[in-house]
Symmetry: C2
Subunit: 208 residues, 2 copies
């Protein structure tokens, strides 16, 4: 019997000042299951995009192309402070969020989704050190102070930086089953936090 | 009083098929202390380099330039199977390792250092699933089966993929002190494994 697998596309949005691990932690996990996922790097203009830490990555797709992605991944990083005022970014996020099967963010990426209005009435979390700024971008969002990640329908928002790895494994578990997610975590020798409510950083950062 | 900080340069070697998190986990940690470290992406030819997972990153430096780096970082990934036969790569690694203050690797990156001969007589570790292949590249290396990372003089070699993050924090602790390393881990909301001998994956992969 021939098994036909239709790969799910992951649209990862880059902008100057994106946080490296917000992007490449999740992409390590999804990319290891390359028979199921197709990674597409997107930016306002297809070009090299400089991260907050310096290294530059190629966005092969732009906002101009009439493509929608099955999974939207929005990273954080200091560039979000500028991007919350970028109407092209917010309009693109609204369009993608309306079509995507999963809308996901890492760190202050949820501030961009919140400013775009797509998280109104949705439970979500964000970076713990930048919590006040990030949550101010979306007063109608139901923000959770203590959570590694929050799942609400098709929306998965994670806490800061490394939390995106745990969230990605949870999404892979939901889509492909626990065994596949466990195999990917072991392959990466990663100590996966499987509990979405595990979050010592909320206390360390004085939020609870 | 004016404090003058001389940044340490980190030379990160890229090659087609490098593993994303092997590179960008460590660079998230070092890059967060950007006042102390200057990240330089290097490849045989300065160019865009495609990772095993697909995304392409820019190497702004090549092997041709007469530059040596304070810290050498060698990632793993399936491209190492080809690079162990690349004499240009091995010669460049020998030159860099001779000059660097710290010689570091993640995952099967240690197979490249071993093949270059720079780990002969040195204690080291590598990826647990690819342990047999990696260790066969350096019969004179003192390979450790169970370790998150191994420190031997100026050589730091880590276990697979995510272990590079813990190793990098240990190097930062050694160079800049525990408080700085802890602050970086908290900033990244990362559950740092501080114990170099913590390694459940050696058992999960049948090595011990």
């Amino acid at each position: 019997m021939t098994e036909i697998i239709t790969k799910k596309s992951i649209g990862v949005v880059l902008f100057p000042g994106f946080e490296l691990l917000d992007v490449f932690g999740p992409l390590e996990m999804f990319g290891t299951a390359s028979e199921y996922f197709n990674i597409c790097m997107v930016a306002e203009n297809s070009s090299l995009v400089e991260s907050k830490q310096g290294p530059k990555s190629l966005a092969e797709y732009s906002f101009e192309e009439p493509i929608t992605y099955d999974i939207l991944l929005v990273p954080g990083g200091e560039g979000t402070r500028r991007e919350v005022r970028n109407e092209s970014m917010l309009a693109w996020l609204r369009k993608q969020a309306a079509h995507a099967e999963y809308v996901t963010s890492v760190c202050t990426g949820s501030a961009l989704l919140a400013k775009a209005g797509v998280l109104d009435g949705i439970c979500a979390t964000t970076n713990k050190i930048a919590f006040d700024w990030a949550t101010s971008q979306g007063p109608e969002v139901i923000w959770k102070k203590q959570a590694r990640w929050v799942e609400d329908g098709k929306f998965f928002t994670s806490s800061g930086v490394s939390a995106g790895i745990d969230m990605s494994l949870a999404i892979i578990q939901k889509m492909l089953g626990q065994e596949t997610a466990e195999q990917i975590a072991i392959w990466a020798e990663y100590d996966w936090h499987r509990n979405a409510s595990w979050d010592p950083f909320a206390k360390l950062c004085g939020l609870v």
